[in-house]
């Protein structure tokens, strides 16, 4: 019906000419297609890799519970980690991981916020010229270097200070603190810079002091960004393997205090993965640890998204 309408009063030949002109492919349209095709291909490949990784880790990690019939509850709460004799209680590693992660985040956050405030509000010039490059440098240092410094400096220092071997949660916390500090700082700086200048001006014009302005207006409106920064720092700390392994002592026992040897999920994985045979319980148990790591990183991710959404809502409301 529509077609008849369009062709009203027009000879067939002319319509066809336009039809051809408007439908034929040119270089521009072919480039469009090729570009779209290539990007879909790349995305497809990435999705495939990620999906198979998830599948691989999940299927292997679940084998402990399905094939070896270990109860999930026992795995999560058991404190005896001796896979060779069939005891696989992962609680010491879980506790170790969370302990170093939270401790590092708690210590690093005030430092990071303080540094970020200095860089954005107190001395933006020196911040940009001096601190920015330092932070970028710190982010780029490979973790093995941090671990090495921890081993050579922090561990002997702790041994000297509190006795014992010097390996343990406190040394790991210190190394992780240094490692996550630049991450949290630079993201906090970004979120402070994103606070509109007119908020600051409005506050100052009302007679609020610089400190009141920073604490009640600037930090307040950057809260969701700062939380995101801290979570990213925690995700990094949670997943860090090498540096932690070098200073924590790698004893798969429930940490009794901060200065005795302990272990984390990652340190246990890296130190244990070479010694097990594929398909056996000790090997499956390690995959289960990897599964916990995977779930945790998904959790951190979800948390970041949740916070971003909340922040957005607050601004729209």
């Amino acid at each position: 019906m529509e077609q008849t309408n369009l062709q009203l009063n027009k000879p067939d030949s002319q319509t066809n000419e336009w039809d051809a002109r408007l439908h034929h492919a040119t270089r521009a349209t072919r480039e469009d297609w090729a570009g779209r095709g290539i990007s879909y291909l790349c995305i497809g490949a990435i999705i495939l890799v990620v999906a198979s990784m998830l599948w691989f880790i999940s299927s292997k990690g679940i084998a402990t519970f399905t094939q070896n019939h270990v109860s999930v509850w026992k795995f999560l709460t058991g404190t005896n980690w001796a896979p060779d004799t069939g005891h696989i209680g992962a609680a010491p590693m879980i506790v170790g991981s969370f302990a170093v992660t939270f401790a590092a985040a708690i210590v690093a956050t005030p430092f990071a916020i303080g540094t970020a405030i200095f860089m954005t509000e107190i001395s933006p010039n020196r911040g940009r010229k001096l601190l920015q490059p330092v932070i970028e440098l710190l982010v780029g240092i490979p973790s093995v270097v941090y671990g090495f410094i921890g081993l050579a400096v922090v561990v002997p220092f702790m041994r000297h200070l509190v006795g014992g071997s010097g390996f343990g949660i406190i040394s790991a916390t210190f190394v992780l603190f240094v490692m996550v500090l630049p991450t949290i700082t630079s993201m906090t700086v970004d979120s402070l810079r994103a606070v509109p200048r007119y908020y600051k001006e409005a506050s100052l014009a009302l007679g609020a002091t610089r400190w009141q302005t920073i604490s009640r207006v600037i930090l307040r409106s950057a809260t969701s960004g700062i939380l995101t920064a801290v979570i990213f720092g925690m995700a990094r700390a949670f997943g860090e393997a090498l540096a932690v392994q070098m200073v924590i002592g790698n004893a798969a026992v429930m940490p009794k205090n901060l200065i005795s040897a302990a272990s984390t999920l990652t340190s246990q994985l890296t130190s244990g993965i070479g010694d097990t045979i594929d398909g056996t319980l000790p090997n499956n148990a390690l995959w289960s640890l990897a599964l916990i790591l995977l779930l945790m990183s998904l959790f951190f991710n979800a948390l970041v998204r949740f916070i971003a959404k909340r922040g957005q809502l607050k601004h729209e409301r």
Binding site: P196, Y198, Y199, E201, A202, S203, L204, A205, L206, G207, A208, T209, Q212, R216, V217, R220, S221, K314, H315, E316, R317
Partner: protein, 267 residues
């Protein structure tokens, strides 16, 4: 080509001893680095009157206004004297936070905090040490009434200030300033982002407020200057060219540059 006007020929009024001035500047100069943005501004602002500052874009109106409550600290160098209650407040050892409590400012762009309406108003009061809930509530109501916003928001005080319309946000910013009970109110093009109806509301608010406050308003809108102000100062390229009563300014300007500007045949 821009027409050249002599900066020598100015017509700036001064006031006799009978007129109480809330604020007065003497030889005020402002420099942004090497850019000399304000030359020798000598203006007095009669108490409980509205003074309008007009002039083309870039003539230094905001620069002048922001100097009055020391908002240019750290941005520009300001020399000369600013007299307020017999004190020169353009001195380094003057407490700028105290000044800004007495000389409030409203900006061109409505800039409420992303907090609730109530929080926007009590923010500065709390920062200033006011704690009692009853006192705070009372200030919220009186300042919102003062800014002619109370009836529109009294049931939604805990809603985000960002959910208000632009005109309401600007009146909230005015309310936020007058909550501190200043005696001078500086407004930098407060209506430029508003529609005509909101503009009328803000203007009515200002006319009501001049009973209690001394108001200095920058505006590009000549009708607005004519409607609300009693005194009017014309700025041109960093110089105050003419300062007279608003009636004279619009009916009988004294010098060529003002005549051309008012007639719209500028440059």
């Amino acid at each position: 080509m821009l027409k050249q006007y002599s900066f020598e020929k100015t017509a700036v009024q001064s006031f006799d001893a009978q007129t109480t001035l809330a604020l007065k500047t003497e030889d005020l100069q402002v420099f942004y680095g090497a850019n000399h943005a304000m030359h020798d501004a000598n203006l007095g602002f009669p108490k409980n009157q509205i003074t309008a500052l007009i002039g083309a874009s870039g003539s230094g109106k905001s620069t002048y206004l922001r100097s009055l409550n020391r908002m240019n600290d750290g941005i520009a160098t300001v020399t000369g004297k600013i007299w307020y209650h017999g004190v020169n407040i353009n001195e380094p050892n003057v407490n700028i936070y105290e000044i800004r409590k007495h000389i409030g400012m409203v900006f061109q762009r409505p800039n409420p905090f992303s907090k609730s309406i109530r929080e926007n108003i009590v923010y500065a009061l709390k920062a200033n040490g006011m704690k009692s809930k009853a006192d705070l509530d009372e200030r919220v109501e009186t300042s919102l009434r003062g800014a002619a916003l109370w009836d529109e928001v009294k049931d939604t005080l805990d809603k985000s200030a960002l959910s208000l319309s632009g005109g309401q946000q600007q009146r909230l910013c005015i309310a936020r300033s007058i909550a501190m009970a200043p005696d001078v109110l500086l407004l930098d093009e407060p209506c430029s982002a508003l529609d005509p109806i909101s503009t009328v509301k803000v203007e009515e608010t200002l006319l009501e407020l001049q009973k209690q406050y001394t108001i200095i308003i920058v505006t590009h809108n000549m009708q607005q200057a004519a409607r609300v102000s009693s005194q009017c100062a014309f700025f041109h390229l960093g110089h105050v060219m003419e300062y007279t009563s608003t009636g004279t300014m619009f009916s009988n300007p004294q010098i060529p540059v003002t005549q051309d500007y008012i007639a719209g045949s500028f440059g």
